[in-house]
Homo-oligomer: 155 residues x 2
């Protein structure tokens, strides 16, 4: 089954978190599960905070790219379109909030499960829960914004 | 000059973001500049979002570890203690908020500059601005919590 990220055009497939073409990166893959979006990811041994636990920056990164991917998928779905249809819809992060509930154990697969809280104009809000061994260890909210055609032009 | 992170004990120096012993990681270094804390970091070419711009997850990671390091330094300073004195004070992230103001260009050194907004009990709130070429591209807030002695025991 194709993941959301498999539909990204080549010029936007280099993201360290989710780009299929970034060989250094996490290359996360996200799918629909009913009305929820799911990403599964097993951190590397060096993604450590205190030994035995996952580094919070990785969790933030996963929530971020899971969120923007979910936002794109949700916008396609709200328009009744498949993700391989044009024009392409890609999202960037406007804001990211992560709450760390408890230490996330290293060495097991993490599950990120997202719900689409709101679609308004070019903005999508995605709420995500991170679980390890079925236990919620972090929650996050991404406000994703549809990427403008002139992204970066004024940077 | 020693960075805050150079004072971390060996058992807490493995963090991917800031641990001096994590050879895979970012190994950020943070210093006082008056009442502000400063981290300078040049992303790698593969830390990309859309080509030419820094991946937001890296920015979140930098804000996170800059924040916890700043929190530790601020707590030592508030107690009139040098960072190499015992008992050691280390902080973990309770929550992380990042607002992306504009795309962050890749290929230049980033400057993170933090201010200590509040120290209350075991909690320190650090606000950080990320700049590239002197232009603010992101702001972030970390609520850092002093690491309990039994960190991870109940995970």
């Amino acid at each position: 089954m194709k993941a959301f990220q498999d539909h990204y055009a080549e010029d936007v497939a280099h993201c360290y978190g989710c780009g299929t073409l970034n060989t250094h990166g996490h290359r996360i893959r996200t799918y629909w599960d009913g009305d929820e979006t799911v990403t599964r990811f097993t951190p590397q041994p060096f993604h450590t905070a205190v030994p035995g636990f996952v580094y919070g920056g990785l969790i933030a990164s996963l929530v971020d790219c899971h969120g923007t991917g979910s936002a794109a998928a949700a916008m396609y779905r709200s328009q009744g379109r498949a993700m391989d249809t044009s024009p392409a819809l890609r999202f960037v992060t406007g804001s990211l909030q992560v709450d760390y509930l408890k230490p996330t154990p290293l060495g097991v697969e993490l599950e990120l499960r997202g719900t689409i809280k709101e679609i308004r104009g070019r903005k999508v809000i995605v709420e995500t829960t991170v679980r390890a061994n079925g236990v919620a260890t972090a929650t996050g909210t991404v406000v994703a914004v549809q990427m403008p055609d002139n992204f970066g032009a004024a940077a």
